[in-house]
Symmetry: C2
Subunit: 253 residues, 2 copies
DNA sequence: GCATTGTATATTGGATCCAATTTTTCTATG
DNA sequence: CATAGAAAAATTGGATCCAATATACAATGC
């Protein structure tokens, strides 16, 4: 414990709405002034900030499975009280990223091999369907963006970035399906397994293969072949899952 | 606001572990004493109690979409402070049952017609697969239990009970799939749409049809026909969804 | 040396208080 | 009567304190 970069905040944790003002406030008089208004109703609370930082640290493996999360310690790192930390921890627990026991605090959750297997299977089912629904709606701009992520994945050498780029590649395509509820479930599943996925990519030299599979999926999308894109997505996920299972069986004893 | 039955708790909200003790503590001496130990680590916190009561009230429609949830009011009803209420509300928000805005409190979430449509579609995809995976593992005892819920659904005249019995019927069968992650997603989806499902059953006289469909699903399970059970489950859910869509389009203007 | 008991310390759960923000009410003005 | 502004009240977000529980350490007995 804990993640290396302490998120030390100032006393006021809500982001200042000044930035839009500072850049756009000129001396032109009110009637020609243009600025991007910031909706203050969506300003981040202390709990939001702590939640997001912890979530990121967990899914990127910066804090490991089994690590304890001490409320007071985290509160001090973020220069806030325990109350927002408790809310952040409660939210993390709802997402399955930590487990808590009454009076015994929070621990970063691990996943058993069976759980990982199931989540990959689940993803294959859901994401294949989302891909199928997305293909008819894909436009040039979206495909170009996905192409960018596909190339970036191939070029990236920092393992910490693989999960994020992989996610961006897939979700860029999936968004065309216009299925927010599905997508929320996909994001949630990815949060659960990202750290394991990175281990698989790293230790089984899985990046070149994943890159080729991304290429094939993207090609099917460019051809407008929804069934093929769905099948390739499904196989891509199931194969990654199998590879990870094999790796974990060897290294978990 | 609010639900009719106030959950007024005593000052101490943790359940007493005494009940097992009281019933089993005799004067036989310690070495022959038998009692069912209660794992106090799992004792419900105040937040747990408030969360469960609010969740139940929302999914059963006792508090309606758009209703405000006032922290202090709820805290008083449960005879506790606002802190556990805030945690309960945060948890409900993670599950999509309420929405909150900074400084403006919590409101029971509604679902748009598009969202409902998507969730039924999602359920059809997931539950068909779970049903398919479950069928090979179904034993006589499980089928008998499901038969019991199937019959109870047909007999039940209280609309408040339909959602619960419907859920019990389906999940009894699904559990044989041994897919806890899928099942968690099914439960979550059902929480989101149960109140709408009850409206559909009530106002479109959907109970007899649902009953027949349950019978057909159960018969396929008894025959061990996984593909048929999956298809019937999928159709059952999609048809219910369509019926509800039709109803809502007429009544939401 | 090991097991048990008692005490001190650490940590979590909830209560209460204060600060920040929103909503409602009241008053003044045209 | 309608509108604007000020003040009061309501509500939420977070800080601090207290109670409850768990963990660590020291003392004691076998």
């Amino acid at each position: 414990m804990l993640f290396s970069k302490g998120g030390r905040n100032s006393r006021s944790v809500a982001p200042s709405p000044d930035s839009a003002y500072d850049q756009n406030l000129g001396f032109q008089g009110l009637d020609v002034m243009k600025f991007a208004a910031v909706d203050v109703r969506q300003a981040a609370s202390a709990a939001d900030i702590v939640y997001e930082a912890l979530r990121k640290a967990i899914i990127e493996g910066e804090i490991a499975e089994g690590d304890s999360l001490r409320q007071e310690e985290i509160a001090q790192m973020f220069n806030t009280s325990r109350i927002p930390v408790r809310e952040a921890l409660s939210r993390l627990e709802q997402h399955g990223l930590i487990t808590t026991q009454r009076y015994k605090g929070a621990v970063v959750a691990g996943l058993s091999i069976e759980e990982i297997d199931e989540i990959f299977e689940f993803r294959a089912l859901i994401e294949a369907e989302v891909m199928r629904l997305a293909v008819p709606n894909l436009d040039r701009a979206t495909l170009d963006r996905a192409r960018g992520y596909c190339d970036a994945f191939d070029r990236e050498t920092d393992p910490h970035r693989w999960g994020e780029i992989n996610r961006q590649f897939h979700t860029t395509l999936y968004e065309a399906a216009r299925r927010p509820y599905y997508l929320q479930n996909v994001q949630s599943s990815l949060d659960r397994i990202d750290r394991y996925l990175r281990a698989q990519l790293t230790f089984t030299n899985g990046v070149p293969r994943a890159g080729r599979e991304h290429e094939a999926i993207l090609a099917a999308c460019e051809k407008g072949d929804a069934d093929l894109a769905a099948r390739l997505t499904r196989d891509h996920i199931l194969d990654a899952g199998r590879s990870l299972m094999t790796f974990l069986r060897k290294h978990r004893g």
